[in-house]
Amino acid sequence: MGKNVGIVIVSHSPDVAKGAADMVRQMVGTNVPLAWCGGNPAGGLGTSVEAIVKALELAWSDAGVVIMVDMGGAETNSEMAIEMMPERRRPKIIVCNGPIVEGSVMAATESSSGATLDRVRRAAEELYSR
């Protein structure tokens, strides 16, 4: 793996993140690097910078990674997680402005055909940009 753009799904709820990831796997297939995280370290709703960093490493692709988030802290923590990644990787990681479920499926569909990072971002954001 490493050719197609990776997808990281970050939700306040682990159930939402896992559910969206299941949809990607079952609808799009397995040729897209994919990782998800959700919930805070205490087991409640929230997001964790450390968990996002781990997910970024799991879904890493030389073509880049898009992060799909649900709201608020998911976005700011994702930006902090990007700052903790090796400097050369940071420009290849994008937090997308799209619906977490549909955007993840659409981004993965685009990625599955070998699209560039920018095209994958556009697919993820298409529903919010009309």
Binding site: R25, M27, V28, G29, T30, N31, V105, M106, T109, E110, S112, S113, A115, A123, E126, L127
Partner: protein
């Protein structure tokens, strides 16, 4: 399913049409398979619900899903480019086969 070519301006455009027999219409999963197949071709590929259009980019998953194509609708495909004929007939075959093939691994 039928396929052929028509002339649009000075360009010969490959065409095909097929009835969508898939139960439930062109919902998420078949729409994804259709888009993934369309993207394998270098040609520009369009899809429409009527012969006169509007023609929609068949490589855009958001736009193909937004068509909300119902069960038994006739789908029209058009393509322009080197592999246009292959693209339009492959897409019609995918629909005709009830989306049995043409998906990616694990899809």
């Amino acid at each position: 399913m039928t396929s052929g070519r028509i002339k649009v301006g000075s360009v010969l455009r490959a065409r095909s049409q097929v009835v969508l027999t898939h139960e439930g219409g062109l919902h998420a999963r078949p729409a994804i398979k259709l888009t993934q197949l369309a993207k394998r071709f270098d040609s520009a590929v369009w899809i429409a619900l009527a012969e006169r259009g509007p023609w929609i980019d068949a490589k855009s998953i958001a736009r193909v899903m937004a068509m909300k194509t119902p069960h038994m609708a006739t789908l029209y495909f058009a393509a322009e480019g080197e592999d246009a004929d292959e693209a339009t007939s492959a897409l019609a075959r995918l629909v005709e086969s009830d989306f049995a093939d043409g998906g990616d691994e694990g899809g």
